[in-house]
């Protein structure tokens, strides 16, 4: 990954407490897995930034390298990689995502 891409990724993570690297946008997701994670965050009324990797090939590949994770979507809370769709879904269903938000002091609908 070139420095420019890695800086772009780090910058997004720094500027946005909750960051979802996804295919499409929160309003128009273009993959079922991205849709699922985006909907969970919306359901919890979490303020998050969706980053459309389809618009930027370098970010799309770079984020996989950054987290050593081969798939999109990828959720980050305060710069910590939380997981992809399966993990986030499981955490959501067990209430662990809510606990994580609490720990990280991110406001959400209780």
């Amino acid at each position: 990954m070139d420095k420019n891409t890695s800086d772009k990724i780090k910058n997004e993570l720094k500027l946005n407490q909750v960051c979802l690297f996804m295919k499409g946008t929160p309003d128009v997701p273009q993959c079922g897995f991205s849709l699922a994670v985006s909907n969970m965050l919306k359901h919890l009324e979490v303020d998050f930034k969706g980053i459309n990797v389809l618009e930027d090939q370098e970010i799309r590949e770079g984020i996989k390298e950054y987290s050593d994770w081969p798939t999109i979507p990828q959720l980050y809370i305060k710069e910590e990689f939380i997981g992809g769709c399966d993990i986030v879904k499981e955490m959501f269903e067990k209430g662990e995502l809510q606990t994580k938000l609490e720990e990280k002091k991110i406001s959400y609908k209780k």
């Binding site: 994770w69 081969p70 999109i72 990689f81 997981g83 993990i87």
Partner: protein, 76 residues
Amino acid sequence: MTLKLEEIKNLIKEAIPDAEVIIQDLAGDENHYSATIKSKVFSGKSKIEQHKLVYKALKGKMGNELHALALNTMEI
């Protein structure tokens, strides 16, 4: 590009020999699968680490030949 169900199973078994692997072809298109994998190697590891072990077993095919593999990993 697609990947056969048996191929996925073999790759996982090769890397994680004690794994109990159940794979379903969700859409019948050899491209959207779900896998439940039970193994001792997962014990004490976070979900992220567990899924990374499976991705590693797939040797870079995840996200390339293999578009979608919903994972459910369990320790035994």
